[in-house]
């Protein structure tokens, strides 16, 4: 099957699953939980464009998440634009913000890149706290975010809101998937694995990094928009460093190498947060022990671990087949085909 066709079918399947879950299990709590997974899933997936695909560890990704939430909330409160227009404007504005910050950040590497992205994020967080007349300071954007009807869609209905969020989510995933499978995406992998070689091959490394930085920022802002739409407000915590930290943990829990790994991590962390808090007030202890078990036990994200186990087995099986039949005609190492399939 052609990869584009396969990806399209998988996206359709994901959308169907997302839509079927609240129909099969009609508890509102589950639907709300899934919207959280969608919002944070977008944050984690977009961050993985930087971390997993390009090898840029950004510690300030929540800045664009917050920019999405606040930008959208303020535009809607102004009452001048419709929901889709506000979304487009917010994503565009955040892309511009990411462009300005990214242009400065991409010159640094490794831990210094992490620190400077963190610095800019905390700077934005301070601006949100200080500019009380616009953002409401530490109380957050209050007064609710209006959801006027557009094109016959009424987002005040909880189920409609959920369907809308799910469709936006899958659309964003498709965009990110297409980018990561494009020649541009492979250039980014080259930069991750060997920046010097990329440079020798004539790749403009800083420019490529900037491009993916802007794209990741724009995608993160969609996550912020979804969350602002759902909670009908925006809070400074969206842009605090702990939110960036959580996004990184989602990626690490799920895995960086599989495309949907971060989403699995987001689901896992949200599940832990939601259900463990219900049973014990010491949910930090439980979360900490789970993380330790995964990092020291599996030594990689869960999705990466399962995937590697599966490819290992597949390779062993095909090797066994070859041994039994004719002479081997050369086989792939599990590592080399991973990126092509993932």
């Amino acid at each position: 099957m052609r990869p584009v066709l396969r990806d399209g079918l998988l996206a359709l399947l994901l959308l169907l699953v997302l839509l079927a879950v609240p129909v099969l299990f009609p508890q509102p709590a589950l639907r709300d939980f899934l919207i959280y997974v969608i919002a944070y899933g977008l944050l984690a997936m977009s961050l993985n464009l930087l971390v997993g695909l390009t090898g840029l560890v950004s510690f300030g990704h929540a800045a664009y998440f917050a920019s999405g939430a606040y930008g959208f909330g303020l535009l809607m409160q102004s009452g001048a634009v419709s929901v889709p227009a506000a979304m487009l404007l917010t994503v565009g504005g955040t892309a511009l913000l990411a462009f300005v910050i990214g242009a400065i950040c991409v010159r640094l590497k490794d831990i210094y890149f992490a620190f400077i992205t963190l610095a800019f994020q905390m700077f934005i967080h301070s601006v949100i706290l200080t500019w009380i007349s616009l953002t409401g300071g530490d109380q957050g954007l209050r007064g609710g975010i209006p959801r006027p009807r557009f094109l016959g869609i009424d987002l005040t209905d909880a189920m409609t809101l959920y369907v809308f969020c799910a469709v936006v989510f899958v659309a964003c995933i498709v965009v990110m998937r297409q980018v990561s499978q494009s020649p541009f995406g492979y250039t980014l992998r080259l930069i991750r694995d060997n920046p010097a070689r990329a440079n020798f091959l004539g790749v403009d490394v800083p420019r490529m990094k900037l491009c993916v930085f802007v794209l990741a920022g724009a995608m993160a802002s969609v996550g912020g928009i979804v969350l602002a739409l759902f909670v009908s407000g925006a809070y400074p915590e969206f842009g605090f460093w702990t939110t960036s930290g959580e996004a990184i943990f989602m990626i690490m829990l799920g895995g960086t190498q599989l495309f949907l790994g971060p989403l699995i991590g987001a689901l896992l962390l949200q599940t832990l947060n939601h259900f463990v808090t219900a049973y014990t007030e010491y949910h930090g202890m439980v979360l900490g022990l789970v993380i330790l078990a995964i990092t020291l036990g599996l030594r990689r994200g869960i999705a990466d671990f399962v995937y590697e186990q599966m490819t290992d087995r597949a390779v062993r099986r095909s090797a066994a087949r070859l041994d039994a039949g004719a002479a081997p005609t050369g086989s792939h190492a599990p590592g080399s085909i991973k990126d092509e399939v993932a």
Partner: protein, 301 residues
């Protein structure tokens, strides 16, 4: 913003002295935490994100020892040595398993330890704010300097932290052991093949770094209210300090820590809501202009 208040404060002797001494205290505490962080990073190449939690533990150990023995000296010893012990355990059991792995793995492991330590303190000692109170030795009237009043305990803190910093600098630059540690940072294989027990050295360095964080926590205990989350803000600030000063540079950490300390103390008057913003702006500025930090040498671009 209230810049008139700031200039008025700088003009009056008493206010300036008060803010200067507060800034010095904040700066010296930060210096202790940041120099431990810097030492561990410089030699082991590990960024110990759990360093803030060690500071918190130091404060709680000091509080517990003080309540049990009523001796301030015992409190200091419990804070410093207790945390050094925790540091050794942490290095041997957890961090040594992620040496040489990518930064994200180290970060995740440290985050897990922060969560566990925070909750462990909550379980054992409770989540509410606690005060240790000023020990009797320092309960006397504050000392007057140039029209401003400075508590005697501040001078004691200054002395202890300056001594600790000096001892660290002397140990690294003027002793045989310090030379070995410097060599270890450059080429651990070579040091190992010369018959030196590198595993022991790694644990020792981690213990020293932790001891500094624990000592800072113990010193802070009488003047701060204690909460399990108190490690977070100092962790972030000591990162700013190590970045501004230069990773692995102890004198750089001192300069940067004082810079941040004064930004905090004078900023609290001039721009109270934007103190964090100003600190991060400083850090961004340094990263853009001189990415390796004021006194750092590692290549960053």
């Amino acid at each position: 913003m209230n810049l008139e208040a700031l200039t008025a404060c700088l003009g009056s002797g008493s206010c300036a002295v008060t803010q200067l001494s507060t800034g010095l205290i904040i700066g010296m505490l930060l210096f202790l935490v940041a120099s431990g962080l810097s030492l561990i990073f410089g030699v082991l190449g590990v960024i110990n994100f759990a360093h803030g939690a060690f500071y918190m533990l130091g404060a709680y150990f000091a509080l517990t020892a003080y309540q049990a023995t009523d001796s301030f000296l015992a409190a200091m010893a419990a804070g410093g040595l207790g945390v050094a012990l925790v540091g050794i355990l942490f290095e041997r059991l957890i961090i040594s398993r992620v040496y040489g792995r990518d930064v994200l793995m180290q970060l995740l492991v440290c985050y897990a330890v922060i969560l566990i330590l925070d909750d462990a303190v909550k379980m054992v000692l409770g989540a509410e704010y606690q005060m240790m109170g000023m020990p009797e030795v320092f309960a006397g009237a504050p000392i007057e300097i140039a029209g401003g009043f400075v508590p005697g305990y501040y001078l004691f803190m200054l002395g202890v932290s300056a001594l600790a910093g000096l001892a660290l600098w002397f140990g690294i630059n003027r002793t045989r052991l310090g030379k070995i540690v410097q060599a270890l940072a450059i080429n651990p294989q070579m040091v190992g093949s010369l018959g030196i027990n590198t595993t022991l050295l790694y644990a020792g360095i981690f213990a020293t770094g932790s001891l500094l964080a624990g000592l800072a926590g113990a010193l802070a205990a009488p003047i701060r209210s204690l909460t399990p989350g108190m490690g977070l803000s100092i962790l972030i600030e000591s990162f700013i300090v190590t970045v501004i000063g230069g990773m692995g540079s102890i004198p750089g950490a001192l300069i940067a820590a004082l810079l941040i300390g004064f930004t905090r103390s004078f900023g609290a008057i001039g721009f109270p809501l934007f103190v964090d913003g100003a600190m991060f702006a400083l850090m961004a500025l340094v990263l853009v202009l001189k990415p390796s930090g004021l006194l750092g040498t590692r290549a960053a671009t």
